[in-house]
């Protein structure tokens, strides 16, 4: 049985990064500050745990009446002039957006951060159709220049040092060497200002879509989403269907919680609600606004009541930040759009269980993700369920026989008695083949010691003591 290429890639990259001390130091530094700020911020809540329950309740309500809320959202925002396009998959979405760009005579597209756009490779599709695409989020801009995917849902360039970023800017932008984050940020700001003023189309995601008022809500810190959605003639927002919430007031709790869980902020610098293109009487704003509602297998998660709550996700990234696996293997090893625990849970639904089941195995099941999730997604149990689903009817050959043998031995005391000395023998010889292909359980023992069998089994000890007449009395004394 050969592992799929996705799994081989994960094991290779994870193994490499896990031993990279520089990577470990970067992660520790970046996340250390995050933990402090997050805890400080959480402590200000009257009751963070109750807030989580309330936030989960809002998303439960939204997701479990998704049809109703989506229709209301689409009708309300269309009534104010936005064009709504429902896309079954990435191909439909990108074809539509490329068509809007073509018919609008678009040359330059400026993008603000959208993971949903990443998911459907929107930038690549637009570039192939001959449009220039510029990422405006600083982190995304940096990884775009390096032709890398984002490293983290929320912190795309967290794996790079200022030195590496300066080197990238020098090479790609011809800018002078810059020594501080401040200087580097100002270089990017300058480049981007020119792009903003020239772009014909702005692309954004949405963190929430409000049914009651027909608005999308965009959360950001830099101001690039505000510029991308207001300066260009055309604004396209790509919105996963699970982003809908029933009421505007729901944002009163979700916006602060998203920022607190994701970045330890009371709320992010800009939270913008958009309810249509430029309205009569307005002095600015895009002439056209397009909302692309994307399914792309989300209805598959919806159809699994056990894991439906995975659609509650508000992409705060908190579960990545606390995950021992993410911290050790980094974001690129996953090979997915969505990294970390939530990525391991949903990628099998989005892209096929057999090719992505290894991600659910790459977990200590410590539950840190579940504990931190602001919308109470039962992440680590979902990983366990994925493991179960992956082996149902398709257990690995070796594992199947291992368990059969185990059952056989456990049911027959005589065989079991025989197994004890065999086990001792195995313990003796195991180290000889520990890291060689001869070892059938090397995946397990490569990084762990095989437990030592005791010199004597309990039964043998018991028998010995009974045969020595004084022993039981001594025990009782």
């Amino acid at each position: 049985m050969s592992a799929p290429a996705t799994s081989a890639q994960f094991h290779r990259d994870a193994g490499r990064v896990a031993h990279d001390l520089r990577h470990r130091e970067l992660m520790q530094k970046a996340l250390g500050g995050y933990y402090l700020k997050r805890d400080e911020q959480k402590a200000k809540y009257t009751d963070w745990q109750q807030a989580r329950t309330a936030a989960a309740g809002i998303k439960y309500e939204a997701v479990n009446h998704l049809d109703r809320h989506l229709v209301e959202f689409a009708e309300k925002i269309a009534a104010r002039g936005a064009k709504v396009f429902w896309a079954s998959d990435g191909a439909e979405a990108t074809a539509y957006i490329c068509r809007v760009a073509r018919e609008g005579g678009v040359k330059t597209v400026i993008k603000s951060k959208t993971m949903t756009g990443e998911e459907i490779h929107l930038a690549q599709a637009l570039e192939q159709a001959g449009h220039e695409v510029v990422e405006s989020d600083l982190g995304e801009f940096i990884v775009q220049l390096r032709e890398e995917p984002p490293y983290h849902l929320v912190f795309p360039s967290m794996h790079l040092t200022r030195g590496e970023i300066s080197e990238t800017f020098e090479r790609k932008l011809g800018s002078p060497h810059a020594g501080t984050p401040e200087e580097l940020t100002m270089i990017a700001r300058g480049v981007m200002r020119r792009k903003f003023c020239a772009a014909d189309m702005g692309i954004s995601g949405a963190n929430f879509a409000v049914a009651e008022t027909g608005m999308i809500s965009i959360t950001e810190n830099e101001g690039n989403a505000r510029l991308s959605t207001s300066l260009p003639r055309i604004h396209v927002a790509i919105v996963g269907i699970e982003k809908v919430v029933p009421r505007l007031d729901d944002l009163a709790i979700l916006l602060p919680m998203l920022a607190t869980a994701g970045a330890g902020q009371p709320i992010t610098a800009y939270n913008t609600m958009l309810g249509g293109p430029r309205q009569p009487g307005e002095i600015d704003g895009p002439e056209e606004m397009h909302i692309v509602l994307l399914d792309n297998q989300r209805t598959r998660i919806l159809a699994d009541p056990e894991q439906r709550d995975a659609l509650h996700c508000i992409r705060c990234g908190a579960c990545l930040n606390v995950c021992p696996i993410f911290k050790n293997v980094g974001g690129h090893a996953y090979g997915t759009t969505y990294q970390g625990p939530i990525g391991s849970v949903i990628t099998p639904h989005l892209r096929g269980l057999q090719n992505w089941k290894h991600l659910s195995a790459a977990s200590t099941l410590c539950g840190a993700c579940t504990e931190t999730c602001p919308v109470r997604i039962d992440l680590h149990h979902h990983l366990l369920q994925n493991r179960r689903n992956a082996v149902q009817g398709k257990a690995a050959f070796f594992e199947k026989w291992l368990w059969r043998g185990f059952e056989l031995v456990m049911r027959r005391p005589r065989l079991y008695r025989l197994a004890a000395p065999l086990n001792r023998l195995a313990t003796k010889f195991q180290p000889l083949i520990q890291r060689t292909p001869l070892n059938p359980i090397r995946a397990w023992t490569n990084t762990r010691d095989f437990p030592k069998a005791p010199a004597q089994s309990f039964k043998e000890t018991w028998r010995q003591r009974r045969n020595a007449p004084s022993a039981p009395d001594a025990d009782r004394a």
Binding site: A87, Y96, R162, P181, M186, G223, Y270, T272
Partner: protein, 234 residues
Amino acid sequence: MQTVPDSRDRILARIREALQAPAPRRHLQTHGPAAPADGSAKSPEAWLPPVPADREGRVALFAKNSADLKTEFVRCANHAEVRARLDALAAGAGWRRVAAHRFAAGEDAINSLGLPVTWTDSGYTVPDIESADAAITGCDCLVAQTGSVLVTSRSAGGRVLSVLPPHHVILATRDQIVGDISDAYAAVRRNHGGEAPAFLSFITGPSRTGDIERILVLGAHGPKRLTILLSDES
């Protein structure tokens, strides 16, 4: 552009079929304390950071949050002081031209600067706003809980003015302070009647990024400085 056939009906059919099977309300069952058993469910905002009920307490909280956020928050006794503070800002930073819109609490103060002003009210060009030294706008309200300012396309001179120039100055009055975001939405409903503006934005501190080594840098794309001049006189 003509309407293009899409997958609306197919997606809705898939959703409806998927929802045939109910999902457990696991967030109520297996984690943490449940909501009060007597059904006295408070509004969810009750779990957020507490906000004083009185206006003075709210102003104090807003001032404290502003300091944390690196917003320059200046309390002024009356409109004359606002005018003086605005003059001082202009002189201190050497403004040569500002962009603004016309609003009751601000127009006089802006005019009294004696600087060229690009007014956005009857249309503008992007380079004119881009090259202004500061933007001066009004707002709908100030949110004590988060230190945010709520601007809308109607209260802040459009969608672009409050984000493009390097320094954003907001002129507000004490009676615009509200408790939390819910209150802010209520204020928008009050200020604008049935149909809310198509652009609302909570601005919380100057534009920022932490994308390089998670080190805070102000002025990523939007203003590097955010100043709020709050007048006690309404």
